[in-house]
Amino acid sequence: MELKACDIIREIKRSGIRFVVALPDRVTSEHLLKPILQDRELKVVQVCKEDEGVSICSGLYNAGRRALLLIQYTGLLDSVNSLRGVAVEGQNPVCMMVGLLGKEPGVAPTRSKRYGVRIVEPILDAMGIEHHLIEAAEDIAKIVPAVERAYERSAPVALLIGREPR
């Protein structure tokens, strides 16, 4: 069941992503963001607020580059207007990897005791943003097709990290 951070990083690279726009999240900081910061194949752009990242990823896309926005779900909730205007209406393939801090292992996000976690998927559904739960080792195989589909559709996608990768 363990999520291996090195496998996630491999799939990020395999999807053609070379920029990671990030604001630290307790779920992904230690084993995902810190190694990415040391990885010479990936360039990290650190932001002060997550909505900046939505637009930086869009600017990178329009410059012909692929990027990943690595954030916590609270940052996603804080970025709803940018996601609305920049990613959805602006048809920019903003690919997000979102840590679900506090989600209980093996519990669906919509069944979490945490209100903030519980509302993430319904909000994404209401916005028409495709999302995938990455919680078990076999879920890592969803990353490349999800990113490819985002670029094919020119639409955002959220990869929800359901447990801390190790």
């Binding site: 932001v47 002060c48 909505d51 637009s55 930086i56 990178l60 410059a63 012909g64 205007g85």
Partner: protein
């Protein structure tokens, strides 16, 4: 104070092949003053111009990017100054059209406008160079040199509304025009 359209015309005279990211009132005027497939007006939400510009600048370090920001817009995304200062793109020139109001939203004054110094905030955030212009002749004399300087640079343009231009937000955010931009930019 400079009339905004006259100020933008100065920039247009010095523009060569730069990508220009423009927001709100400046964008409405810029697409008429300096029409080009390399104009990027597809910022989607208030305050986001500087962040789009950073993405473009990091994605294509071989191209020069100018952002025509607004003062209200920049206040909505002040953290982007720190992000840009940290990323330090040499190819980014950040112009702020400072008129002291939320002009698009009814001309209500900005909070704190008597005390704010965008150049001071930018320097403290890590921009190595900043400039302020309130006089058209000074801006005309210096614009060409500044456009060739290494960034990130913040240029505070003290402006008032000038001639009226048609307002068309649908055009500014048009995905069709964005696709034309992408093709032109990636040539």
């Amino acid at each position: 104070m400079m009339k905004r359209d006259e100020c933008l015309k100065v920039l247009a005279r010095h523009r060569t092949d730069e990508i220009v990211v423009a927001v709100y009132m400046a964008a409405q005027e810029w697409i008429h003053i300096s029409p080009s497939d390399l104009n990027y007006t597809f910022t989607g939400a208030m305050g986001q111009g500087s962040s789009h510009a950073l993405g473009l600048a990091l994605g294509r370090p071989d191209k020069r990017i100018i952002v025509l920001d607004g003062d209200g817009s920049l206040l909505m995304n002040l953290g982007s100054l720190v992000t840009i200062g940290h990323a330090a793109p040499k190819n980014l020139i950040h112009c702020v059209c400072e008129n002291g109001t939320y002009e698009t939203n009814g001309g209500v004054p900005l909070p704190g406008i008597r005390h704010i110094s965008f150049t001071a905030i930018a320097r403290a955030a890590g921009y190595p160079k900043t400039y302020e212009f309130a006089n058209l002749e000074d801006w005309e004399r210096e614009a060409g040199r500044i456009l060739r300087e290494e960034g990130p640079i913040l240029v505070d343009l003290k402006i008032v509304p000038g001639a009226e231009y048609p307002e068309d937000f649908r055009r500014l955010y048009s995905v069709e025009h964005r696709e034309v931009f992408r093709k032109a930019f990636q040539k």
